[in-house]
């Protein structure tokens, strides 16, 4: 198993080598046009082009293999995903996309394994790179980073990350993810009023989330409603959350939500 530090180190090294190679190949092409008689020049040019094409083909093949890892992670097949990501990170490619994508997959894997420290480290390393062709990975990486920071109770780090996300153009799925993180963050700092603002619009957005996110978001909104004395909303939102997931599970993930179901929970589940 590749450690986060080793994966980051290897990716950075390969990216540097890749940049150097991208400068060397055109120089080698120009140089080979100047050396020796015509057949030698032709052979050299073809050799350089062939070498570059072989690197490109290997990268494409490895990228195709590594592209399966997110679905393996989603299916909970972590060991297979780990193997594929490991191979992709260890193999050399001069193309930054072929190096950064496996690193992003490793962040996804560590996040799914709830290894928050490593997730944050990988995401930070990823976001520190020039993304170029894979700039679409930047928002998902920052969302994962924010989630990991919240799990580690790094509220300040999460705030900075959320602020950066608000400046980006986000897809609908990313907006929904950000909303959940914002609610989680706001609950940690006790910003109940801002959580409850525009509650109806928030409820409509929550309905578009996957089950776990929808339940957690509504439970956070219910908690905000209770803190503000809006018991009608607290009851309504809490009941909706309860219909989507089992309360003990919800409370085990976010103990602060136990306040909503104090009387219903078994002693062990109240956190």
């Amino acid at each position: 198993m590749l450690s986060a530090e080793a994966a980051i180190h290897r990716t950075r090294r390969d990216l540097t080598l890749g940049y150097a190679l991208k400068l060397l190949v055109p120089a080698a092409l120009v140089g080979s046009l100047m050396i020796g008689p015509e057949p030698v020049r032709l052979a050299l040019v073809l050799g350089v082009i062939g070498f570059w094409m072989a690197l490109g083909l290997t990268s494409v093949r490895r990228a195709q293999l590594a592209a399966m890892s997110p679905s393996l992670i989603a299916a909970g097949r972590f060991e297979e995903a780990e193997q594929q990501i490991d191979q992709a990170i260890r193999s050399f490619s001069p193309f930054s996309a072929a190096k950064l994508r496996p690193l992003h997959h490793l962040a996804l894997l560590r996040h799914a394994q709830r290894r928050w420290q490593e997730t944050a480290m990988i995401c930070r390393a990823l976001l520190g790179q020039r993304m170029g062709a894979v700039r679409g990975l930047s928002n998902p990486a920052r969302l994962i980073l924010t989630d990991a920071l919240l799990e580690m109770n790094d509220v300040r780090g999460a705030y900075e990350s959320i602020t950066r996300l608000y400046r980006e153009r986000l897809s609908l799925a990313e907006v929904l993810h950000l909303m959940l993180l914002q609610l989680d963050y706001s609950a940690r700092i006790g910003a109940w009023k801002s959580m409850f603002e525009n509650v109806m619009a928030k409820v409509q957005m929550v309905e578009l989330m996957p089950t776990d996110g929808a339940a957690r978001a509504q439970a956070f909104l219910a908690l905000a409603a209770r803190k503000l004395g809006r018991e009608d909303w607290a009851q309504w939102l809490g009941s909706r959350a309860q219909l989507l997931v089992d309360v003990p599970r919800l409370v085990a993930e976010r103990p602060v939500l136990g306040e909503l179901w104090k009387s219903d929970l078994p002693a062990s589940g109240q956190g």
Binding site: S171, L172, V199, M200, E207, L208, M209, P210, T211, A214, R230, D232, W233, Q235, W236, S239, R240, L243, L244, V245
Partner: protein, 292 residues
């Protein structure tokens, strides 16, 4: 009836028009022209030096122009493909946000001209089946679903989703025999036992055909996966269960089920999806929503 963005829709015509057209093989023509120019250059006698020089320069320029034109056209093609991809992503978001008229207009426009790629056309058609079902145009939805399935144009996961959608459409069309056969086919698919979509279709079939006991058994067995996979759409299952309890005369249970369903989804939306729920209207109160 209010006009909809799908009035005077001709699905077979859309299927025909949206077929991607074979592009003119400009690259091969250009390569041929380059070879031809190089060949003519070789044929010009070495003694006619001025002519050979002039022809050499001209053919060099021509090859450069051809290369640039090819590069420019491939960049333009790539940009057009990316624009279409962005439009399709936009449509997916409109559907998720339930902006049905905008999604219907965008898809109709997209499919009213030859697609740039077969992949995008198939994706647009898959989205279109969702929009058609939303507008109760089940015949059209089934036509497209069968077109995609019969020709094997989609991957197994998408095909499974399309088959669930087609079965639901058949139930809405009261094609109960076809729907029953389609459910049997679905159940034979690997992984169907863990699919909330299949469970929901079966639940609807059982309620629709007057088998409430089977519907309740199914619901009790499948509730965990229904909740996990359907999210707020688990309201559909609760509403159908409400009707099943009602058919059995278990009023208290029906009341609880209706309250649960309407906690998660507006009663009007549930009634639009399942007209059979009309029988519950007025008899069981929906869950009250707090005032803003």
């Amino acid at each position: 009836m209010d006009p909809t963005p799908l009035d005077s829709l001709d699905v077979p015509a859309l299927l025909e028009i949206s077929e991607p057209r074979g592009s003119t093989p400009w690259a091969w023509y250009a390569i041929g022209a380059g070879i031809l120019l190089a060949g003519i250059n070789q044929l010009v006698s070495d003694e006619a030096k001025a002519l050979k020089l002039a022809f050499g320069a001209l053919s060099g320029i021509a090859i450069m122009v051809i290369l640039f034109a090819l590069l420019a056209s491939s960049f333009a093609g790539m940009r057009a493909l990316r624009a279409q991809e962005r439009r399709l992503d936009g449509v997916a978001e409109m559907i998720q946000l339930h902006r049905w008229p905008q999604a219907a207009i965008a898809l109709r426009q997209m499919l009213s001209q030859p697609a740039r790629s077969a992949h995008f056309r198939i994706q647009a058609l898959v989205y279109f089946t969702t929009v058609l079902a939303r507008y109760d145009r089940f015949d059209d939805a089934v036509t497209i679903q069968e077109y995609l399935l019969d020709r094997g144009l989609v991957d197994p996961t998408t095909a499974f989703g399309l088959r669930i959608g087609r079965t639901m459409a058949m139930l809405r069309q009261d094609r109960l025999f076809d729907a029953d056969r389609a459910i049997s086919d679905l159940r034979r698919t690997p992984g169907a036992g863990d699919s909330a979509g299949v469970a929901l279709v079966e639940l609807y079939r059982d309620v629709k055909t007057g088998h409430p006991t089977e519907a309740l058994e199914m619901f009790q067995r499948k509730l965990p996966i229904l909740r996990e996979q359907l999210g707020h759409r688990v309201a559909d299952a609760w509403a159908l269960v409400g009707r099943a309890y009602d058919l059995l005369g278990r009023e208290d249970d029906a009341r609880t089920a209706v309250a649960n369903a309407t906690l998660l989804a507006p009663p009007a939306e549930l009634l639009r999806r399942y007209p059979e729920l009309e029988k519950l209207t007025g008899r069981f109160q929906p869950a009250p929503m707090p005032a803003a």
